[in-house]
């Protein structure tokens, strides 16, 4: 065993022992559930007091109060309308993960290491249909066409099946470009997303885009003046920023 190996083994043994000594802290969900339990109880108590005490009193001096429990359901997450209305990619149930050999992006030369690693991790997770892992790869600032912000909105992939996954893999197989972001460059796929006008998109790029968009959608990009289809971006420090379509 080399000296480096010995040093690493010693450090590892000590670290494992230190970790064993630490008691598992209650998972945040348990603490949160505990807090939420108390908050729910407090809120319910307040409503009961309101219902049996304050409301009759208010009823005597003004308009009747709205019935307790008449709560408006929270609004559905806003889903950005996607311009994609038809697709050439057959959808499949989320439970199956067929071979995605036709959408197997190869490594790209010249990407910063952090960008390449994130791209590789996205490709690996997408190819194995590991939607949960995809969620964890999304950065805190991640946005998608599925609504909301952060990684959680990717959970809709569990219902959507393979279609967005195949779209994502196809995107990452296309040429890329950089656009300025809030903190450095963002590497975007396809390159067409970085062009100011739809006219700048080359024929070769059109052929690539035809894998995920129809002629009708091309017409709508032409009418809009620029590419508004699916695109994805990774910041120069490797944060997955968006996977989105539409304007």
């Amino acid at each position: 065993m080399s000296k480096v190996d010995q040093a690493l083994h010693r450090a590892a043994v000590e670290t494992r022992q230190a970790a064993m000594r630490r008691r598992p802290v209650p998972l945040e969900t348990q603490r949160r559930a505990h807090r939420q339990g108390w908050l729910t109880f407090a809120a319910a108590f307040a409503l009961v007091v309101l219902a049996f005490g304050l409301v009759p009193w208010l009823a005597g001096i003004g308009e009747p109060a709205p019935p307790v429990g008449d709560t408006t359901p929270p609004p559905e997450p806003v889903v950005t309308s996607s311009i994609i209305t038809e697709t050439t990619i057959a959808t499949a149930p989320a439970s199956s993960c067929p071979s995605l050999d036709q959408a197997a992006p190869q490594p790209v030369e010249g990407l910063p290491e952090a960008v390449a690693e994130t791209r590789d991790a996205i490709v690996a997770a997408a190819r194995s249909c590991d939607f949960e892992l995809l969620e964890t790869l999304a950065g805190e600032r991640f946005s998608s066409s599925f609504g909301g912000g952060g990684s959680e909105n990717l959970s809709i992939w569990n219902d959507k099946g393979l279609e967005p996954t195949v779209t994502l893999l196809n995107l990452l197989d296309m040429g890329h470009a950089t656009i300025p972001g809030p903190a450095g460059d963002i590497y975007v796929w396809p390159a067409a997303h970085s062009y100011e006008t739809w006219e700048e998109v080359t024929e070769e790029e059109m052929n690539e885009l035809a894998r995920i968009h129809s002629e009708g959608e091309f017409d709508s990009f032409g009418a809009a003046g620029s590419y508004l289809g699916w695109r994805t971006g990774i910041s120069e420090n490797g944060e997955w920023m968006f996977f989105i379509a539409g304007d």
Binding site: V4, L8, E14, A18, A19, P24, V25, E132
Partner: protein, 161 residues
């Protein structure tokens, strides 16, 4: 199906050890482990059906560790004028903390291999599964990591080696 509670209890120490090797400071490591288990908890219906939920949660852990280090690096740059406080690991001796500091200077994939191999005690095949690469790539990262460390650890504490 294993209950999440049992999974959490059984896997927590192993996960924490790996996290302690990947990030500075025990509390940062604990936060990281929490985040990884929360991801598993939210999707336990599915994750528990995987061939290896253990590998999955470790994959999430190393991804989160990378994100954390990126975030800290940007924060460090932002506060570099005043000088950030040194994170502490009171649970580790200075020698061990020094070894992990040297490991943190390695490229990210090499750090992960070291943490998963030495602290996590995973086989080459298991590490390849967690990292999403081939066993050959794992061996290559490990070999290069040891090469790099031979220089830096010797400089750091020649007597220890």
């Amino acid at each position: 199906m294993t209950s999440f509670e049992a999974f959490y209890r059984d896997e927590y120490p192993g996960m924490l050890g790996i996290a302690m090797a990947l990030v500075d400071g025990t509390s940062a490591a604990e936060d990281l482990v929490q985040e990884a288990f929360l991801s598993a908890h939210r999707r336990w219906d599915r994750v528990s059906q995987y061939d290896s939920p253990r590998a999955w949660v470790r994959r999430v852990l190393i991804n989160r560790a990378t994100s954390l280090r990126r975030r800290l690096a940007s924060e460090m740059r932002a506060v570099s004028r005043v000088g950030p406080p040194e994170p502490s690991s009171p649970d580790l001796t200075p020698e061990t903390a020094g070894v992990w500091k040297a490991v943190h200077r390695l490229p990210r994939r090499q750090q992960q291999v070291i943490a998963l191999h030495y602290v996590g005690q995973l086989s080459m095949a298991e590490i390849a599964d967690v990292m999403g690469c081939s066993e050959g790539a794992v061996k290559s990262h490990l070999h290069r990591a040891r090469d790099h460390l031979r220089g830096s650890l010797a400089t750091w504490n020649e007597r220890e080696l």
